[in-house]
Symmetry: C2
Subunit: 93 residues, 2 copies
């Protein structure tokens, strides 16, 4: 096997691992969304507004505390800003 | 327990579940980033450019195929656009 095709094979192996991780990520994001939607439905009964900046900051701080790298905290916060934005936009079932 | 405090308690339970999910999400995002960084280091040896639009589209299509809801495909694509952007920005170790 040539050097280049050996490197290509290694890249393909890592991509296959990423695909497996993405399956789990998608499942977890959906599980998270399920809980978000339930919370959204419950909030009026607790006289709570939909947007809770204190809870959002708490989430960012917890995410920082869970982070062992190689991603930096700023990277994770950027991803989580996206996740939280999408969770707010998802129509209630 | 009053109606309102019962609802607040339920919200707290769902938030605790979300916190557990976030621990797993952060671990998986870091695992994914690890593989991305290895791929980035290998690419020059395969004469591949860092940006691969064909692979990015493949990732979006796979994410669609993994999606059982309640998130819509567009929601997941939005999150993944963020993830892929951050993965590209993460400095190589």
């Amino acid at each position: 096997m040539s050097e280049e095709s050996s490197v290509l094979a290694q890249i393909e192996e890592h991509r296959a691992k990423i695909d497996e991780i993405d399956k789990e990520l998608v499942a977890l994001l959906n599980k998270r969304a399920g809980h978000s939607l339930v919370i959204r439905g419950l909030k009026p009964g607790a006289h709570m507004g939909l947007y809770d900046p204190k809870r959002e900051e708490e989430i960012f701080e917890k995410v920082d505390s869970y982070n062992d790298g190689p991603l930096y905290n700023e990277n994770l916060r950027e991803i989580y800003a996206c996740i939280l934005k999408v969770m707010k936009e998802t129509p209630s079932v």
